[in-house]
């Protein structure tokens, strides 16, 4: 997906969320659902299957998100499904997250870990990263079992890698 298109969809999502007054919730929900879509090929393929009626695919979205996300998020994701752009959701969600954070003077840190960080760990890590970068940091946690253990944080082009996977790779290269 082009950056221009992702940017346009992100603008639309933020405009709707802003109008509904739930930017933070929508941003968080889009980020989380974007990670789910990115990590679940079957869901991604199903939601993008042109042979399934749009109503059927939208119903799947509502079944997955209903009661666990705002109606703004559900509607926006349903619109992406109808437009055949659900595979662009991770990029759009990242753009929404970055813009949302930037609008509040914060920088997004993508934190990948094998298990989900607790709210306390997210707060501690955000504080540590803010002190390290002298910027307000918003942590977005992505559960990625491939890292095996530990955490890797990406802030823009900077990466702080403390994963077991990377240590094993370093060990493999050392042989």
């Amino acid at each position: 997906m082009s950056d221009t298109r992702a940017s346009a969809y992100a603008d639309a999502a933020l405009a709707i969320a802003s109008a509904e007054g739930n930017v933070a919730e929508v941003t968080d929900e889009l980020f989380r659902f974007g990670q789910i879509v990115q990590g679940n090929e079957e869901l991604r393929t199903t939601l993008n299957d042109p042979h399934l009626p749009v109503e059927k695919r939208s119903q799947i979205v509502e079944d997955v998100l209903g009661g666990r996300a705002t109606s703004t998020t559900v509607s926006f994701v349903s619109m992406l499904v109808a437009a055949g752009r659900i595979h662009d959701l991770p990029a759009i969600a990242e753009e929404v997250t970055n813009r949302s954070a930037a609008s509040s003077g914060e920088t997004v840190a993508e934190v990948r870990s094998a298990v989900a960080l607790t709210d306390a760990q997210i707060a501690q890590l955000a504080e540590a990263l803010s002190a390290r970068t002298n910027r307000a940091i918003t942590v977005r946690n992505v559960v990625d079992p491939s890292v095996l253990g530990g955490v890797v944080t990406r802030i823009g082009d900077s990466v702080l890698d403390g994963t077991v996977r990377t240590r094993l790779n370093q060990l493999r290269e050392a042989f």
């Binding site: 540590a128 002190a131 253990g149």
Partner: protein, 177 residues
């Protein structure tokens, strides 16, 4: 002739002459007549026949001589040719022997060179194979060791270990400020 025979048989003959002299005379006369007739009429053909025979014999002798000379010449030519062919055969044999010697020498040198090259290549291949095998073995050992390590790590990474790793990471990020 039959008349002379009749006349001669009319008287007894002596030891040297017939008994009747007339018989002698007539016989001699008849002889002379026959001789004259023969001399007159048969001499030339006989002489001619003899001369022809002589000439024919002489011609045949000449032809025989020519044939002999030709045969000797042919013999000499054949002998010379045989001598030449012997020399040619000897030369061909010598050339063949030299070619064979040269070919044997070349083949031996080439075979030796090929043996050396093969030996060097075999040694090189062996060294390469050995180093490759060592590298493969090392890589395989490393892969197995890392695989085992990864399995051990995965099996030991329970929730408490995960939390400890995350807390350590957060602490390290904080300490690096």
């Amino acid at each position: 002739m039959s008349l002379l025979t009749i006349l001669a048989s009319e008287a007894p003959n002596g030891p040297w002459l017939p008994g009747d002299l007339n018989e002698v005379i007539w016989g001699s006369l008849a002889f002379l007549i026959v001789f004259a007739l023969l001399w007159k009429f048969a001499k030339a053909p006989v002489a001619k026949a003899l001369a022809g025979r002589t000439q024919r014999i002489a011609d045949e002798l000449g032809e025989a001589e020519q044939a002999r000379v030709a045969a000797e010449a042919e013999r000499d030519r054949i002998k010379a040719a045989l001598a030449d062919s012997d020399a040619e055969a000897a030369r061909i044999i010598e050339d063949a022997r030299q070619s064979a010697d040269s070919l044997r020498t070349d083949l031996a040198a080439r075979a030796e060179a090929e043996i050396v090259a093969l030996r060097e290549r075999a040694e090189s291949d062996l060294a390469t194979t050995r180093s490759q095998a060592e590298a493969d073995l090392s890589g395989e050992v490393s892969r197995l060791a890392l695989g085992a390590t990864e399995q051990v790590v995965q099996s030991t990474l329970d929730d408490s270990a995960q939390q400890r790793l995350i807390d350590d990471y957060i602490r390290q990020v904080g300490n690096q400020n």
